[in-house]
Symmetry: C2
Subunit: 279 residues, 2 copies
């Protein structure tokens, strides 16, 4: 089972990498190095979990690859813009990302800042010009993306993370921060897949996404235990064993939500795969 | 005539300030200081030229204030996000904006960065949820905004500005940079006004905007002559007198484009007002 989901993830990565490459294939000198930085920030790495969720929920509800791909790429661009800005010296000050220098180390801070801005803007352009869905669906996608990436979602979560102070941060705040910072974009990815397929009832996808997102973050916190000493994580509130058992419970719940939906095996396998991942 | 346009600008500023205040009126503690920074970056200053253009083009073509206001606010949020990021130390490193400390001086770099990201995202949310226009129109607005703010527009122009080197920068590049950096968002503002009114033929608005935008930048360059020594401006290529005469010619052309359109006096007055402004 694990090999099957690994293979599905690899196939998806290839598909998304190709689609992103096409979107970012601007070499006209009029752009200076802007697209070079955007490509560097986006291509050649990452598990492409969010696009996978978009593609897979679209498939689950009978939609086409053509309808889902632009939305999947848009979500991935938002993810990569956030990483590019997060790595900046004034934020996490990370010199490395995916085993190579982060964008600001490679191209300088100003170029990394602008590339991040450009990636976010481009995400909205790609979603709004998705020709394989109805205009109403493209508009709904924009709304879902803006809600997931904005103050009630990802940026709001980053803000909470940034200004969180040990001691004043209780467990409910931790849950809320992670639901916003990591969960909101994962939920966005799932919802975009549903609407690409014309599936209007997105309740199950949202419930699945919320549990998956939280479990994902818990496992991340466990992996980063020794590198994120100044961050508030699940491990400030519990042991690794307890954190793992919560992630396991969330994963079981996520899978249970999809029970009875024909063709949902791949999504369940993904949830289990993410629980047991070791990077 | 000058008093009349001054009055119209003041009335518009009040209207836009009220609308922006309502959009940014989130005081829930869950957002931390994010909305404080967004409000600081956006409220209490600026001539609101871009929103004025949106409101006025909508009025010109018989549209409602309700249809234009969300689009006008969205453009202004994009403008203010770009100023907030531009002021950052890695970009222009400006400590002051509109006579008070810039956002990063007041709230720190990380908060200014996130607030800028949030303003850009919120702009797309506001435009896509404009209930006073048809879904197709809201979608078209998102597309116009993404094109105007993205790599072919504002961000692309900033990139050219950032990496421009004296000597390698010819006059055509200067024109292109300014058309992208300043002109694209002014054009966006005008087009959004047209589509808010259901006006599909936006050629005249675009031609007006392009001339207005360039004239606007030339006057800006003249005002900033002694403070922007390291920037490439029109004054690297000509005298102040020559620059003024080009701005005058562009303004005349802009006004000429609107000749014969009933009710276009206010827009013409704006163009003349901007030519003669002294700040």
């Amino acid at each position: 089972m694990k090999n099957k989901i690994s293979e599905a993830l690899i196939n998806n990565s290839i598909h998304i990498e190709n689609a992103l490459s096409a979107y970012l294939d601007k070499t006209d000198s009029q752009y200076g190095i802007l697209y070079d930085v955007m490509r560097y920030s986006t291509l050649g790495g990452g598990k492409r979990i969010r696009p996978f969720l978009t593609m897979e929920f679209c498939r689950l509800y009978g939609g086409s690859e053509a309808a889902a791909t632009p939305f999947a790429c848009a979500v991935e661009l938002i993810h990569n813009y956030s990483l590019t800005h997060d790595d900046l010296p004034c934020m996490d000050n990370d010199d490395y990302r995916r085993g190579r220098p982060s964008a600001h180390k490679k191209f300088g801070e100003a170029n990394a800042l602008l590339a991040g801005d450009a990636l976010l803007t481009y995400a909205f352009e790609i979603a709004s010009t998705n020709k394989a869905v109805k205009p109403e669906t493209a508009l709904e996608a924009v709304r879902i993306m803006a809600a997931g990436a904005g103050t009630r979602g990802m940026v709001g979560g980053q803000q909470l993370d940034l200004n969180g102070v040990h001691g004043s941060f209780d467990y409910d705040t931790l849950l809320r921060m992670n639901t916003m910072k990591t969960g909101a974009l994962i939920r966005t990815a799932c919802l975009l897949g549903c609407i690409a397929a014309g599936q209007k009832d997105t309740d199950k996808a949202a419930c699945f996404a919320d549990r998956l997102g939280l479990a994902f973050q818990i496992i991340d916190d466990i992996h980063d235990e020794h590198t994120e000493a100044d961050k508030i994580t699940f491990l400030n509130f519990m042991t690794v064993e307890k954190a793992r058992s919560i992630a396991k419970k969330l994963t079981d719940e996520a899978c249970g939500i999809l029970d009875g939906i024909k063709g949902s095996e791949t999504l369940k396998q993904l949830a289990v795969y993410l629980l047991h991942r070791n990077h």
